[in-house]
């Protein structure tokens, strides 16, 4: 039977410009992916383009170029570090320089601090309580956001670290439907936790798939759409990083970034191109399509 006058479901689809505008100066910003994979690079370039400042950046569990670029562009005030580096390509140069010169505040986390902090943020737990042993490490001694409390079951003093609840989380995935249901074809890493812990979450996706393709296999959905506030179509939106299941990372482009003068790089690849497709044009269709590799 025909349903008359029923309201229609609202598509959450927006543009990179609209998405970047949701991130305000001073926000706590988390981004997804890991190393040279699945970073929301097109959106990060747009955030820089919009001149966003004083971000408290929650670098992902092993962050490379996304964190380094935001630091190099002067957008970052405080950086929560679990790992920031370029894996086999060496140190992340702008992060290292900014940290050594004291231009950014570092919060020295690690995998537990980051992952269980986000989990506590998602749940609203007051803190993360640690089992014994971490007293022997320097992070809880040197990083002042760790605290202590009592374990009432043993009477022992324990270490705790804070819940992490970002203002905005940004992730990149292979597929998303217009209502925010995300499908990762490869590793999810902590993208699901970022979506759960953040007050708002934006997904950029290689393609926007119809709802029916989600409903056909709901167990493939990696993040349910109720956590997602905006969906942006961004093909090759992780370039020069990989998008798992769709294309490999462009290692030469990452090396070029590493070795470049940061201001020249920003002029050429961020402020120069008028939009994401103009950025992609700088690499050309042959190079991009040769990165394609499914799982």
């Amino acid at each position: 039977m025909e349903v008359i006058d029923a309201p229609q479901r609202t598509r959450k689809v927006g543009t990179l410009q609209q998405a970047a505008a949701l991130i305000k100066d001073g926000d706590t910003l988390a981004f997804g992916g890991i190393h040279s994979h699945n970073g929301p690079m097109a959106l990060i370039r747009e955030i820089i383009r919009q001149g966003t400042k004083s971000l408290k950046l929650i670098a992902n569990v092993s962050a490379g170029m996304p964190a380094d670029l935001l630091v190099g562009a002067g957008c970052v005030d405080t950086l929560m570090v679990c790992y920031v580096g370029l894996e086999h390509l060496g140190m992340a140069p702008r992060y290292r320089e900014a940290a050594e010169q004291g231009r950014i505040k570092i919060i020295d986390g690690d995998e537990i601090y980051y992952v269980l902090g986000l989990k506590a943020g998602a749940l609203g737990l007051p803190f993360v309580p640690y089992p014994p042993g971490h007293e022997a490490r320097d992070n809880p001694k040197r990083e002042p956001t760790y605290q202590r409390t009592l374990d009432p079951y043993t009477g022992r003093e324990i270490i705790v670290s804070p819940a992490i609840a970002p203002d905005v989380g940004i992730i990149h995935a292979a597929r998303c439907d217009p209502y925010g249901n995300v499908v990762h074809l490869g590793s999810v890493v902590a993208d699901d936790l970022i979506a759960k812990a953040s007050r708002r979450t934006i997904v950029t996706a290689e393609e926007i798939v119809p709802l029916e393709s989600i409903q056909a296999d709901p167990k493939r959905t990696s993040i349910p759409g109720h956590y997602i506030d905006m969906v942006v179509k961004a093909p090759f939106g992780a370039h020069p990083l990989s998008c798992h299941g769709v294309y490999n990372h462009d290692e030469a482009a990452i090396r070029d970034y590493r070795d470049a003068d940061i201001d020249a790089y920003l002029r050429e690849y961020v402020f120069g191109p008028k939009d994401h497709f103009a950025y992609l044009e700088k690499f050309g269709i042959e190079r991009l399509l040769n990165l394609r590799e499914s799982l």
């Binding site: 039977m1 349903v3 309201p7 609202t10 349910p224």
Partner: protein
């Protein structure tokens, strides 16, 4: 166009499902949890998404289906509920969202739950009747009512309306209603119980006293009848409204798209 049918042409279950569905108009874009043994709210969520709140997200109980679009079945954790869903939550997912969603600014968490006792302040009990240490009836346990202090809004539904369910004071607070302790401890964004959908009517809570009062009575129900079946004095408004019966469109969608097997008409509902 939206003609009203006579009382005899729909069941109390259908009436209640429609009433809950209409309330979901206020929750378009919100996220609603439905528990076990919950055909009424499950049907309501399906109906609401078709007619009134297409942006409502809802969870079918412990099975974890988000936005199940299959026909109504008895158990919300039956695998058939997963068909046509958009995501399947495990228990960690469920606790993650039900424990603390009010920190997000893009949608409230709503729940439609029950209890073996519900009292005048909207506290709910699933644990025991009588003394906790030596109960007359040992209940099933607090289960998801622990989220009663983290949900943005709680609605109750009951399949029966008797003085054994609607008691003056619950014997165990699985989820607190408008109690002094809620006021003292629970963040104000977690607003607690707002409405009760029973087989006799719809009830809300007086803001001043936090006590239950009649909002509307279902067709054919009198104030005397509902008061006689309630274990505490109900607030009675100056003008007692009648619950608007299901429209032809609501019933048609319910019977063709939501509940083609007619489970809502077979429910053992006590009036």
């Amino acid at each position: 166009m939206q003609s009203t049918m006579s009382k005899s042409s729909y069941s109390t279950g259908e009436l209640m499902a429609v009433a809950i569905a209409r309330q979901m108009k206020h929750h378009d874009g919100d996220w609603a949890a439905v528990g076990a043994y919950s055909q009424l709210p499950a049907a309501a969520m399906k109906l609401a998404r078709i007619l009134y709140a297409p942006n409502l997200w809802w969870l079918a109980g412990g099975g974890g289906a988000i936005n199940s679009s299959s026909k109504l079945v008895t158990s919300t954790s039956d695998h058939r509920v997963l068909r046509g869903a958009e995501y399947v939550m495990n228990m960690e997912d469920i606790v993650d969202i039900e424990m603390w969603r009010y920190s997000r600014d893009n949608g409230k968490i709503v729940a439609v739950v029950g209890g073996i006792q519900i009292d005048q302040y909207g506290s709910s009990n699933m644990v025991c009747v009588g003394d906790y240490a030596a109960p007359k009836v040992r209940g099933v346990g607090t289960v998801g009512l622990c989220f009663g202090v983290s949900f943005g809004i709680v609605y109750f539904f009951t399949m029966h309306h008797t003085p054994r369910i609607f008691v003056e004071q619950v014997d165990f607070v699985s989820s607190p209603g408008h109690t002094p302790e809620r006021k003292k401890y629970v963040p104000p964004l977690c607003q607690g119980p707002q409405l009760v959908f029973s087989p006799l009517g719809i009830f809300d809570f007086a803001p001043a006293t936090g006590t239950m009062r009649i909002k509307s009575l279902h067709p054919g129900v009198s104030v005397d009848e509902v008061q006689s079946k309630t274990g505490f004095p109900l607030g009675v408004p100056e003008q007692v409204l009648e619950t608007e019966p299901p429209t032809a469109q609501e019933l048609a969608v319910l019977r063709t798209q939501v509940d083609p097997d007619g489970l809502l008409r077979e429910l053992r509902i006590t009036r």
